[in-house]
Amino acid sequence: MPANFAPSAADYLRILPEIIMTVAGVLIMLLEGWLGENKKRNLSVQTFVAFAAALVSAVAANGNPGLSFSNMLIVDGFATFFRVLVIAVGILSLFSATQYLKREHAESSEYYALLLFSVTGQCIMATANELIMIFIGLEISSIATYVLAGYLRDDKRNNEAALKYFLLGSFATAFLLYGIAWIYGTTGSTNLSTIRIALLTPGSETNVILAGTAAALMFVGFAFKVSAAPFQIWAPDVYQGAPAPVTLFMSAGPKAAAFAVFLRVFMTAFGPITSRWEPFVWSSALLTMIIGNFAALMQTNIKRLLAYSSIANAGYVMVAIAADSQIGVAAAMFYLAAYAFMNIGAFAVVTHFSRQGEKFVNVEDLAGLGWKQPVTAALFSIFLLSLIGVPLTGGFFGKFYIFKAALDANLVWLTVLGLLNSAVAAYYYLRILVVMYMKEPGEATLSLQPVGVGIAATLWISAVGTLVLGIFPSVVLNFATASSALVK
């Protein structure tokens, strides 16, 4: 009996954030049963306390990095970066959800509990060092998100979004699993570092072919989760159908965690066989950018437009992965942080603006918002400018570092096409700005109530986040480069 398996105190410290969030989720679920109707409001406060505690413990866990739980988990700079990012996304989506739930009369604690569990799943994905742990973390966060996507049961679009997300989600997970099975077959273990060593040893040629096919299969699973090119058909429908705060959460949280896993698996485990997976990552990055940007041009529905823009952003991060270098990983991490803030801000405005039953979701409805609520419009324009990549915003430095990394890895064609794409993207973002400021206020904007507390908090935090990343990017960038060294 290996006596040394018993997890020591250090192990527990390393998974403290997950423990805190699970316990909080459980408490909230139980409390909801016994609490009366009126005390529902402070459930969201409790969720915030849980998230804050998890954030603190995540940073503390970075104190003594290392492997734990018979090297299932690894806590290093990379893992802490994504943990903090995912919990921040959880907090922001919590703020924007409180008003929305009250407005849709769906006020109940399950939403908060599922949000907590989904963020726990994402933290597990970020810190996993074993393919099976990645799979289970992925499943936890996606099952919680499937339910959240279909939360308002009577709303037809919610059902459809949840159904599509579920079917394609489990289809992609089956591919991911098949890839994991093949990797286990060729290398004999699912631990990322052992796989790397196994692939480094000059094994027989057959190993490399099989490992290549396994990498392709796993790429299918990850590409779906990240809504990359060949598998992004689900994203627009699901983003449009799901409730607005859930779309906000879905576009930032699970996507960032999926990229974290994508980076960790492809950089550490499949490091030695880059020549195998390089081509299809490269082509998928290009395809994603093109589809995302060109399809967004014709969109009238604001949520669908932002969905295509999030696909295009996924394309940019794929370019960073295609660069397959330490700077590439750092650039991807930085861009994901900047993307999270701008995307959440944009979706928060949509949540606020769409009112009861999400009636006003067309771009034209935003007409004249600039005059009616100048502050919200100003913040919205910061997010849009950052999405375009105007200097002094997070978006600019994100794209800058990505294309620099791509150039260093002499992917010239990819950079040129990437720049072209972001130019095209500028058009549909500016179109929204024009509608907001130039047009006369339509009946939608006139009937707009003032911004709720939660939405205002989300807007301000994400605006500050975008600007900070824009003005002094070095703080985050140095941390990202330091931690990416561990992964590559």
Binding site: M1, A6, T22, V26, M29, L30, G33, W34, E37
Partner: protein
Amino acid sequence: MPTSYSDTYFPVLVQIVIAVIVAAALVAISFLLGKHVKNRVKDSPYESGIAPTGSARERFSVKFYLVAIVFILFDIEAVFLYPWAVVYRELKLFGFGEMLVFVILILVGFFYVWKKGALDWSHEAPGDSPYGDPDAAPQSSVTKNAA
């Protein structure tokens, strides 16, 4: 007693084959032996006189589905218990701690299901159309506090 692996499983295969043959024979015999009289009266479904109302496909009641869901998830817990029970003496107290965490988390789910009233079939008169149990009794689960 044959100890090698395949020899222990061979009798099981034989037993299954015998069972299948006996069952098939049972079902077939009645089909062959019985007299075959086809007439309209016998063909109508057995309904103590009144012709069956409505199509046989009655709309569903969610209760059955909920029971099946709760059954699957607790069945998994039961199957997790078996390897644990077999290896328990080696794990000693630490094994107990592991399983305690596992079971407590799942019991939380059980209490949640119990609180939400998914388990009690308070108003299930067989006759009425069970679709969506439009039961008169206000079955709002929130007010019903824990027993």
